[in-house]
């Protein structure tokens, strides 16, 4: 094969390369560089090798303890919101109308929370939950429920979780709705003829057909919830105590609060790695699920 050799093409790639270098590669390499060093300010750095990484994985050190505790909170948070948002999103999608003007109305209402900026969501719930002036906080306390997300761990967690469910269930619902819409009518008609109950229709037709979109929904929701920062930071600031301090909040504290650039760099690399690995696992699972569905030749 004859390939046209045209070295001028490199000049066309160069701008992109420069942008990517300055926006991604150089900052990332700076972080890698920091993660191997310690600093006491004044722009003076000392070589520390893999010391920070060792500390990160050792729960007896300050850094390791804080990392593992916040990692646990992150995993728990992601598990809880997935357990709530995925089934809830499916239920919402199933109960949405299929045709008529109400479809558009439902879609707009569902999309609204997704359009609100993260810190506005945080502010909304921060005020909403205040026992003195917030509608929810005031009503709950008036009903005799002692609710205060500033002083009670469980209340803080409930607030953060409910806020995330309010913010993101729409995404799952919209994805599922799209999956449901793609099921041809013939499936429902055949199920009717086969005498299938509502539950059997869900198990045999709707759930399998939503498989792909559900995987995407789980992936997106896991990634996003694992990286959560803004909303809990605005609402609880990571408290009371450290009870809602997630990895991202811990990271900001270490990097900007304590100015421990080395520790923060090591932590952010590990954080990044966890997300990449989970991404890769999900991607593999999804691609495999796709190939399994291909019909084989000569199977008749």
């Amino acid at each position: 094969m004859d390939k046209t050799v045209n070295q001028k093409a490199w000049f066309l790639v160069l701008p992109v390369f420069a942008v990517v270098a300055f926006s991604a590669i150089l900052p990332l390499m700076t972080v890698v560089n920091y993660s191997m060093q310690d600093t006491f300010g004044n722009n003076q750095f000392f070589w520390n090798g893999v010391g920070w990484f060792k500390e990160l994985l050792d729960p007896s050190t300050d850094l390791g303890g804080r990392f593992l505790a916040s990692l646990g909170r992150n995993l728990f948070f992601s598990a809880v919101i997935l357990a709530i948002e995925v089934p809830l999103g499916i239920v919402v999608a199933l109960s949405m109308p299929r045709e008529g003007w109400s479809v558009a109305a439902c879609l707009v209402i569902l999309a609204l929370p997704l359009l609100i900026p993260w810190n506005v969501v945080g502010t909304i719930w921060q005020i909403f939950g205040r026992p003195d002036i917030g509608l929810m906080g005031y009503v709950l306390n008036a009903m005799g429920i002692d609710y205060n997300y500033v002083s009670n761990d469980i209340d803080a967690w409930v607030t953060v979780i409910v806020m995330d469910v309010w913010h993101w269930t729409s995404l799952v619902a919209l994805l599922c709705y799209a999956g449901l819409k793609s099921i041809p009518d013939a499936y429902y008609q055949a199920a009717q003829i086969d005498g299938a109950s509502r539950w059997a229709v869900f198990r045999a037709i709707q759930l399998p057909k939503m498989n792909r979109v559900l995987l995407i929904a789980v992936l997106l929701r896991f990634m996003d919830s694992f990286m959560i920062y803004t909303e809990p930071f605005v609402v609880t600031g990571g408290g009371p105590g450290n009870s809602t301090t997630f990895i991202s909040i811990e990271l900001v504290k270490i990097a900007l609060g304590q100015f421990d650039l080395g520790k923060a760099a090591a932590l952010s690399l590990v954080y990044n790695l966890i997300i990449l690995i989970v991404c890769w696992v999900f991607y593999t699972v999804m691609t495999n699920a796709g190939t399994e569905r291909k019909p084989q030749e000569g199977a008749a």
């Binding site: 041809p184 013939a186 499936y187 008609q189 055949a190 009717q192 003829i193 086969d194 005498g195 299938a196 109950s197 059997a200 045999a204 037709i205 759930l207 399998p208 057909k209 569905r293 019909p295 084989q296 030749e297 000569g298 199977a299 008749a300």
Partner: protein, 361 residues
Amino acid sequence: MARIDLVDLAHSYGGPHAPQDSYALKPVTMTWRQGGAYALLGPSGCGKTTLLNLISGIVTPSHGQILFDGKDITPLSTQKRNIAQVFQFPVIYDTMTVGQNLAFPLRNRGVPKAEVDARVKQIADLLDLTPNLNRKATRLTADAKQKISLGRGLVRSDVAAVLFDEPLTVIDPELKWQLRSKLKALHRELDLTMIYVTHDQTEALTFADTVVVMHDGRVVQSGTPAELFDKPAHTFVGYFIGSPGMNIVPAQVSGHEARVDGHTIGLHRNYGVLPKDKKIEIGVRPEFVDIAAPASGLLSATIERIDDLGRIQFARVRVGNAKFAARVPPGFSPSGDTAGLVFNPAHVHVYADSHLVEGVA
């Protein structure tokens, strides 16, 4: 197993008060006898799928009744009608094996497990699906999937009729023949009423013993394939069935004679005097018109081209302004552009406003 009667059945998707011209199915009264193999034949949008969905209960009619063995089942839901339906695209339950797919309608109805297993085995044998019983249904080819859809209908022992909605659309041509003869065999074996919707006349004519031709929401003729071929009750039937379709040309008809383009064609029957206000046409199948060398006694035509279909040749000709197809007799080769047409009077039919006029012998 049942006889199905349609009594003044009609349906409009625009509600019962829409003008009747807009009805997807105009009022029809007919009987489908128990054990018959019927084909509903017509072009897209003629109402055949609507009629099928009315029978299966997926659509509720605007007017009229459907009787199974004399019992009115119009208000019953699809589940309670004991109908099996095979759709255009194979419907299978993705997560289940072939066996579970076949068992699904029985399990939904709470049939005991032993009975379900026996029935599934029997149907799988019948449809040659036994080797695949434990495989995931999604992994099979389109024709096997279509057999599963059919099997889900057949497992129920009380099924009143099996409805097919263009079931061979997604099947490869060479497998179409296999599957169609399988259906024929099943029909003979199981003594089920089968109704087969298609727009493909070959499928309809080979599958069915009675073909119901629909046009524009109406049933225009129902009869055996031979009847449809020999004596179309409507010009649409003549045109739609047969390849090429029937020749239909305007004519003046009186008594035993039809005049076309200033030429007189003899007729087999006496038509007396036909009403003046109707559009009178004669129809004759290309198989019953031969072209010959131009002669003074023959209707003359201009040859446009000759189509060689292998065992038979058809000449595409023009009579005045009308297009016409005629058989080229074996051994005849036309010289020049003009030819004469020789009609077989027994097969020349007369139509008034598209409907067949029965002459007196």
